[in-house]
């Protein structure tokens, strides 16, 4: 039966407490520091980050972006009483693109 230990991974170095584990296969894709699990099965050691915070943060960002879009559209329609003007649409698009860039950055910083 495999042994599971709590571990951390910083700059590609996996530790159990203060003890460096080597060799080890790091399964998760990201590069940010993380906490996770070290699984030892015979002579194979594998590290898996617990990335539930990644998912929560990502969902929060998406939620925030959607809220920004909705708010911008609501404000523009309320102000003009009609479909938004081209200039206003350009501002909205820039806002959406900015949010998308932010999500892209967040994706790179996954654990």
């Amino acid at each position: 039966m495999a042994k599971i230990l709590t571990a951390t991974c910083v700059d590609g170095v996996v530790k159990v407490g203060d003890h460096v584990i080597t060799p080890v296969v790091i399964l998760t894709q990201g590069t940010e520091s993380s906490g996770g699990l070290l699984i030892i099965d015979e002579d194979r050691a594998t590290y898996i980050a617990t990335n539930t915070t990644d998912i929560v943060e990502l969902l929060s960002s998406i939620q925030s972006v959607l809220g920004t879009i909705a708010s911008a559209l609501t404000t523009t329609v309320a102000a003009t009483g009609s479909a938004p003007a081209i200039a206003a649409v350009a501002i909205m698009v820039a806002t959406i693109n900015g949010a998308a860039t932010s999500l892209g950055t967040q994706k790179v910083n996954l654990k």
Partner: protein, 146 residues
Amino acid sequence: MKVRCSHGYFFFEEESAGELARFTSRYGFEIVSVDNYWTFEELAEAPRFSLKNLAYLGSPAIETFEGNPWDVMRKNKLVFDFTDFTVKPISTVVLPLKLDAAQYYSFSDGLILPGSVAKDGTRVTDFTAQFNADALKVRYTEVIYG
């Protein structure tokens, strides 16, 4: 009483009432029950994994490994020394092997120390034996060298 050594991890299995008591009395060992066998007290809580460069039962582990304690000891080239009740690298055992040969088995007054060095330079890693409670001798039916 059956005695097995698997890379320095000992198993004692009583086959007749009183054998274990006579064995421990003869050699002065502290033996405890684990699952369906008995072993040295110092081995009873042996972890089922080792982390490379961290101590395993007081001796440095050379591998990260998970498995039965005897498999962990084998992977890390460790044996239990019942002369001082410590776990140590097999390479540090310097005792020469003393075993008398009979037709179908070998025998000795006591337990072979795992890691004992045979004449050809190989070391005892495993053995299977029978402790004769009446004669107070150990008869070895199988000895493995590595």
